[in-house]
């Protein structure tokens, strides 16, 4: 067969030809195959119509035009690419220009703001002058709550007052009472060590923590928020030690003068006590109707209550004067932690097997539920839709 098709090598071809010459059966087979080829060769086809030939060759000119069009469209693509590049360059230039301008404005604004703002570290020395006290009073807003510190329960304390000449005539002889509140935000590397140092600072300066909150959220750094009360004379030392705990991120110091408030309390107390004395004299020396006596006693009780209230306020104010408040926020430098070590291989296999059985059971149950719920509907629609579809498919397969 391969000999007739010319698929044999020359040496093999010679060998097979020699064999065919000797073997009548092979010769007969060869002839029959050759006859088949001869018979098949009778199946000729007519020449291709000229119209088709013309049509195909005409399409060549179209292809040439297409190539020209491709060239033009490529040129257009190139032009559009250039346009995109130019637009991009323009946008970048605009961005750089406006970015630089806005940066310059920002720097100028920051500079002006810095010039207007007061350095926080200088708040204590500046409190010695009336101007600085006024400034401190203006700035005496809690940065967290936004409320005036006078509204909150911030403690006040007395600080040494170096009176300016003539100031003594303006104010009473009492030293001014300034409420000091300090807000510190510190980032530490070793949170546990910082926590121990923090406790030591409190103990060393006879302070206490009014509130303390430590939070350890997963995937984030630990934080400690505390409100510390430190005796006012030791505030500076406690502050410096607190700052040494780590990297200081933010520090805000506020001072609020409450001298007037204290003086008002004293005056109200003095008046109330005098009123009380006079009422007691009236009760002791004068005689009259029982109704009048009862009215005097009622008035005396009211005044007595007022005196006790004012005394409590005074004691609270004076007690608060002795302590300053430090709102401290300690944050640990965040270090990404590896996940908790995976359970053992056996445990993982067991869990996987349990989950696999559960999901298999659930899927089986879901299938049963689906069949129970939708089976009747499926059967109902399968008959009118499926059978014609199946017949069409059979026809399609037969037609192929």
């Amino acid at each position: 067969m391969a000999l007739l098709d010319g698929e044999l090598r020359v040496d093999r071809s010679l060998f097979v030809s020699a064999h065919i010459a000797d073997c009548s059966e092979c010769d007969k087979t060869t002839d029959s195959v050759r006859n088949v080829s001869t018979s098949l060769a009778k199946w000729t086809v007519p020449n291709m119509p000229v119209s088709i030939e013309d049509k195909v060759l005409r399409s060549l000119s179209h292809i040439k035009n297409l190539r020209t069009n491709e060239f033009l469209s490529g040129l257009r693509r190139l032009q559009s690419l250039q346009a995109v590049l130019v637009s991009g360059a323009g946008l970048v230039t605009l961005w750089v220009f406006f970015g630089l301008n806005s940066g310059r404005h920002y720097r100028v604004a920051s500079k002006i703001a810095a010039e207007r703002d007061l350095p926080v570290d200088n708040a204590a020395p500046m409190a010695s002058s009336p101007t600085s006290r006024a400034t401190l009073s203006e700035r005496g807003r809690n940065p967290i709550t936004g409320r005036d510190n006078a509204d909150s329960q911030y403690y006040v304390h007395k600080i040494p007052f170096q009176a300016q000449p003539g100031y003594a005539q303006l104010e009473t002889q009492q030293p001014p009472m300034i409420a000091r509140t300090v807000l510190l935000s510190i980032v530490v590397k070793d949170f546990d060590a910082a926590r121990a140092s923090f406790d030591a600072i409190l103990a060393r300066h006879n302070g206490y923590a009014a509130s303390l909150n430590v939070s350890t959220l997963q995937g984030s750094a630990r934080t400690l928020q505390a409100s510390l009360r430190i005796p006012a004379p030791q505030l500076a030392a406690a502050l410096s030690e607190s700052k040494a705990l780590g990297r200081l991120e933010n520090e805000t110091q506020n001072g609020e003068e409450v001298t007037q408030q204290h003086a008002d309390l004293l005056a109200r107390l003095k008046n109330s006590r005098e009123t009380e004395g006079r009422l007691q004299d009236v009760l002791r020396t004068r005689t009259g109707k029982v109704k009048d006596v009862l009215e005097v006693e009622q008035e005396l009780a009211r005044v007595r209550g007022e005196i006790e209230q004012i005394e409590a306020e005074q004691k609270t104010l004076e007690h608060r004067v002795e302590f300053a408040t430090i709102d401290l926020k300690l944050a640990e430098e965040y270090k990404a932690q590896l996940n908790t070590p995976a359970p053992s291989v056996l445990m993982q296999l067991r869990n996987a097997a349990v989950n696999g059985f559960r999901s298999a059971f659930e899927s089986l149950l879901a299938l049963v539920l689906f069949l129970a719920e939708s089976g009747p509907s499926l059967l109902l629609w399968l008959a009118p839709l499926g059978i014609p579809g199946w017949r069409l498919w059979k026809r399609y397969r037969r037609a192929q």
């Binding site: 018979s39 399609y396 037609a399």
Partner: protein, 195 residues
């Protein structure tokens, strides 16, 4: 490579060289000559469209016949779909345009009775004169399969074209046409390779 770079001249040359073989390829496989003309035209248009992507990994002839096969398969698929779902019958050959010579008709009928793969192999060998390896590449079959199937097809054709066998077969056809039509169903058509 010339075909890809200097398209019009090369295409004209290739068209003149292969127009008749490709037209014959379709004429022998599609009953309606009009369809054969259309498919031939479509093949050369496809060749033009794909010229920029042509890579000379095989003989150009194999490449061209591969395109022809794809187009033929698509045509058969569409015809089957139309016949099955739209009720259009497969294109019936116009008797005036059909092979009128008795010998041609006889050969055509004999070839049509072969297994589809065997038929394609023998037609590619006998009419398109492709080598065994080209046929193997084209049909994506092993070379030895081509050899054995070609032998089987030729043997079957010898029996079908033998007048004595043919007469017996004709009588048998008259006696039980269902049996003949059943034998005409290609057993190879169910073996994965579809033509």
């Amino acid at each position: 490579m010339l075909f890809r770079t200097a398209l019009p001249e090369a295409f004209t040359e290739l068209f003149h060289r292969y127009k008749q073989p490709i037209y014959g390829f379709f004429c022998r496989r599609v009953p309606d000559p009009a369809n054969a003309q259309e498919l031939t035209q479509e093949t050369f248009f496809a060749l033009l469209r794909a010229a920029s992507r042509y890579e000379p990994r095989a003989l150009f002839r194999t490449y061209l016949y591969a395109i022809s096969f794809k187009i033929l398969r698509a045509h058969r698929r569409k015809a089957a779909f139309r016949a099955a779902f739209l009720g259009h019958r497969n294109s019936v050959p116009d008797p005036s345009k059909q092979d009128t010579t008795e010998s041609r008709m006889w050969v055509r009928r004999a070839v049509e009775k072969l297994d589809p793969i065997d038929r394609e192999i023998v037609m590619l060998r006998e009419f398109e004169q492709l080598s065994y390896s080209e046929i193997a590449d084209l049909l994506r079959l092993p070379l030895n399969t081509i050899r054995s199937r070609l032998f089987r097809a030729r043997t079957a054709l010898r029996e079908l074209l033998d007048p004595s066998t043919a007469a017996a077969s004709s009588e048998a056809q008259k006696a039980s046409p269902a049996k003949v039509s059943q034998s005409a169903v290609a057993p190879g058509a169910r073996k994965g390779f579809r033509l």
